[in-house]
């Protein structure tokens, strides 16, 4: 039955995303069926968040690693993409400098910092977008799991990690644009970013990547490997006594999850048009955990559902009740944890049985 919900989810995500893309491109603005570009980018953004939620559910739901710093991997992927998009601006920046991004020109940089080289190449940038979060997760996870840091302690140091990155990227001397980050992108892979077709394409790409991540995640958790992983989550000591090495299992799934989060970030940046250190804020990571909790932890599909639901709610409430929406959001989190320990998906499950 889990397979079924996955299938339905894939069909829905792909179907609706393509439908929206088609309706956006094929109908006139006046038509009743028309989907505005604004909605296309918005749903695209939700799907990127869904990828992050999925990645988080993979480690939290199946390996028991509650990462409070997962948005860091998302943001690192985003930064790699942002650097590529920044280089693509070329002479169209306000200072018209072919090599240096605007923020470097007015901070009197003479040359491109060494770590910016290569990012004009899309393949290299995409490689970096998965490599950097992956490597960070590898090093961090190797150190942490080997010393058997677990539970709350792990959560706190992942939070410290994303906080340290927040402060680091915030520094103007780091060469990533400081607090302003990177904005005003023009085009990617030669396609103008503001064009409806690019937006629609990005939405479909996000849907496809989300589904691919979902299928990979599902393959991992239903395999023999996944069974051991769940054993590690439930009783780590017993699994170790049975001869397994829990740290290797955790490390693998942690790195995989970080890479997925990085992919989410890659797709996120061109759709929202900005990447800045705010994405590293610990609050962002905690919010991602809440999406998973709202949808239903350890279900994969639930994470996607939660991310979309909470973000759609946020979009609606910040517009409709600008002064009160934080109350609504806060109470939602409290009520979900108190009343719906298995999330919305669990509720649906209960309604069926």
């Amino acid at each position: 039955m889990n397979r079924l919900s996955t299938t339905i989810c894939v069909i829905l995500v792909l179907g609706l995303a393509s439908l929206m893309a088609i309706l956006n491109l094929a109908t006139d603005a006046g038509s009743a069926l028309h989907v505005p570009t604004y909605a296309v980018s918005l749903v695209g953004k939700y799907l990127c968040y869904a990828i992050l939620a999925l990645a988080l559910d993979l480690v939290w739901g199946y390996a028991g690693i509650l990462s409070l710093g997962h948005a860091a991997f998302f943001a690192l992927g985003g930064y790699a993409m942002g650097m590529y998009l920044m280089r693509q601006i070329g002479t169209r920046g306000v200072y018209g400098n072919a090599i240096l991004p605007d923020f470097m020109v007015f901070l009197n940089y003479k040359d491109l910092p060494w770590y910016w080289h290569g990012f004009d190449n899309p393949a290299f940038a995409l490689l970096m977008a998965v490599l950097v979060p992956g490597l960070l997760a590898l090093v961090f996870g190797w150190l942490a799991f080997r010393s058997r840091v677990s539970g709350v302690y792990l959560s706190i140091i992942t939070q410290a990690l994303t906080y340290a990155l927040l402060l680091a990227f915030f520094r103007n001397d780091m060469g990533f644009g400081g607090n302003n980050g990177m904005t005003d992108f023009k085009d990617m892979f030669g396609l103008p970013l503001q064009a409806d077709a690019t937006r629609a394409g990005l939405l479909v790409a996000s849907a496809v990547m989300l589904c691919a991540c979902l299928l990979v995640a599902r393959f991992v958790v239903t395999s023999r490997f996944g069974k051991v992983l769940i054993a590690v989550r439930d009783t780590e000591a017993r699994t170790r006594f049975l001869g397994y090495r829990p740290e290797s299992y955790k490390l693998f799934v942690f790195v995989l999850s970080a890479i997925m989060a990085g992919i989410g970030g890659v797709l996120y940046v061109p759709q929202v048009g900005i990447i800045n250190p705010g994405e590293f804020a610990p609050a962002g990571s905690i919010e991602a955990v809440i999406w998973v909790a709202v949808g239903g932890r350890g279900t994969l599909v639930g994470a996607i559902l939660g991310a979309v639901l909470v973000n759609a709610g946020k979009t609606y409430l910040t517009g409709a009740f600008p002064e009160l929406w934080l109350f609504a959001l806060g109470f939602l989190f409290i009520l979900v944890t108190l009343l719906l320990p298995k999330g919305v998906l669990g509720l649906l499950q209960r309604a069926r049985s």
Partner: protein
């Protein structure tokens, strides 16, 4: 009235010493200068007025200092008093004043310096040694050469050793700055300043350039020697800064050491308990200001217990309505309390508005003192003391009271404690209330150094968790050592690495440390750890 008499006395002395300046007919009229729009004219007028011997000078300058001196459209000067206006020049009452036409006599920093110099010089012969001391300090900063004769007169009859030193220093400053007196006088002045040896002395010595060559050479040597002392003291100064930051971290984390450390509740709304404590301080101060302004100096004494009660009661309420359903699910309490923190922030924003609230610092907590080569700011000193008291009380409660005994029993073995007849739910609520209450008291301290805004708590929550985890969960001593270590390390890194990089270095070091010792510096031992 006392100050007026003092001023008159001083003016009398001034009159004897500087007779030329008192001739009103050849000096420009100071009163028309005061009505001017030009700050230079006003400052000049103050100096002239102070030296003029005019009996109205003292009240006029005092009014200027209190911002109660006004100019009318026809350039007359009026002093606002409790029962109307008086003419500043004559001291006579003035009727029919159109308040809308009045403008304050303009004051800026240059005018303020002139006022300080004038009143400083005049206060030198006050009968009150504290006033004389303050006046001497004022002359020391103003370095006004016209006060040299007054200084000489004051020194001649000064008996208080402390004031005498201050007067000598002021004399040295005025002498050197104006290149007055013989070379021998100036050399001894440099020696006086070297003996003072602080940053102001260095500043003055560094500003000399027209003085005789020998004096300049000696000044350069004196600066070098002061700087040597400074470097020595900077280590101790850094330690004080570190201790002070550490005590702030300790206060912020102390409540969490109970709720998270002892009970295992990941309380993301801990910062909001601190924030509520800070807002309680604001409310208490507003109430005192309205009901009994005389007690304002003691407002914090009322605020501390009030903050403890407010945050503590809210803590008990939270435990009863929320946390108790989530025991055994620590990570889910994290989510619920995060939601709660959003609600509390927005609630405070709705009630008090989103801008900062003004919490007054009582007089005894403001300012600083130089102890040898150290600058000790009072508010920081009191916060260190407050942290010691809070932690001491907390430890005493846990160790020596029945409640503390039960708390420890429940956290160590809930079922056994329950079997022994302890009402565990009640103890849980009280423990959580205690932790929250301590957070509230921390809020009182933080209101003295930081913003009182709805975001106050957010800025301390991550640091608080770091402190508790680094020290070792469940170990109050660990929290103390950890907070102080983090504070001191941070403050010693800051000068080299800068504030941002310093913090990043500390965080990375912390992450690596936890990897080496996953349970902090002082881990709890025994079976409870495995849970």
């Amino acid at each position: 009235m006392k100050s007026v008499r003092r001023l008159l006395l001083a003016l009398a002395i001034g009159l004897l010493i500087v007779p030329a300046a008192s001739r009103a007919d050849d000096a420009p009229d100071p009163y028309s200068g005061l009505a001017s729009q030009s700050f230079e004219d006003i400052a000049q007028a103050i100096t002239t007025l102070a030296a003029s011997g005019n009996p109205q000078a003292a009240p006029t300058i005092a009014a200027l200092q209190n911002e109660t001196l006004f100019v009318t459209p026809d350039q007359a000067l009026l002093i606002k008093t409790d029962d109307g206006y008086t003419n500043a020049r004559t001291g006579e009452k003035v009727a029919d004043v159109v308040e809308d036409d009045l403008a304050n006599v303009r004051v800026n920093n240059a005018v303020r310096r002139a006022i300080e110099a004038a009143s400083g010089a005049l206060d030198l012969v006050s009968p009150d040694p504290a006033t004389r001391l303050r006046a001497a300090a004022q002359v020391f900063t103003s370095r006004d050469p016209t006060s040299l004769p007054l200084l000489g007169a004051a020194l001649a009859k000064e008996t208080n050793a402390q004031v005498r030193t201050a007067l000598l220093q002021a004399q040295a400053a005025a002498q050197l700055a104006s290149n007055a007196g013989s070379e021998a006088d100036q050399l001894s002045a440099v020696a006086t300043l070297l003996a003072r040896g602080d940053i102001e002395a260095k500043s003055l010595l560094g500003s000399l350039h027209d003085n005789p060559q020998a004096v300049l050479a000696k000044a350069t040597a004196a600066i070098a020697s002061i700087e040597r002392m400074e470097r020595l003291w900077s280590l101790a100064q850094g330690l004080f800064y570190g201790l002070s930051l550490g005590s702030v971290l300790l206060l912020a984390a102390a409540g969490l050491a109970i709720t998270f450390g002892v009970m295992g509740v990941i309380n993301m709304a801990h910062g909001e308990m601190v924030m509520l404590g800070a807002y309680t301080t604001y409310v208490v101060q507003s109430a005192i200001a309205a009901a009994a302004p005389g007690l304002m100096g003691f407002s914090l004494m009322f605020a501390v217990p009030a903050a403890f009660l407010v945050s503590g009661l809210i803590g008990v309420l939270i435990e009863r309505t929320l946390i108790r359903f989530l025991y055994g699910r620590p990570l889910e309490t994290l989510l619920a309390t995060w939601g709660l923190s959003l609600v509390l922030q927005q609630a405070v924003r709705t009630i008090f508005g989103s801008s900062n609230r003004d919490v007054t610092t009582p007089g005894w907590m403001s300012g600083s003192d130089a102890v040898m080569g150290l600058t000790i700011t009072y508010n920081r000193l009191y916060i260190i003391a407050f942290a010691v008291v809070v932690i001491g009380l907390l430890m005493a409660v846990l160790r020596y009271t029945a409640l503390g005994l039960r708390m420890r029993a429940v956290t160590q073995n809930r079922r056994m404690a329950s079997a022994m007849g302890i009402r565990t739910p009640w103890i849980d609520a009280l423990t959580f209330g205690l932790g929250s209450g301590v957070a509230g008291m921390a809020g009182v301290a933080l209101s003295q150094i930081d913003n009182v805004s709805p975001n106050l708590g957010q800025s301390y929550i991550i640091d608080s968790f770091m402190v508790v985890v680094f020290g070792g969960v469940g170990n109050l001593w660990g929290t103390v050592v950890s907070a102080l270590t983090l504070g001191i390390v941070n403050k010693f890194l800051e000068p080299f690495a800068g504030a941002v990089l310093g913090k990043i270095v500390v965080l990375v070091a912390l992450i690596l440390f936890i990897q080496r010792k996953p349970r902090g510096m002082f881990p709890l031992k025994g079976r409870a750890v495995e849970q």
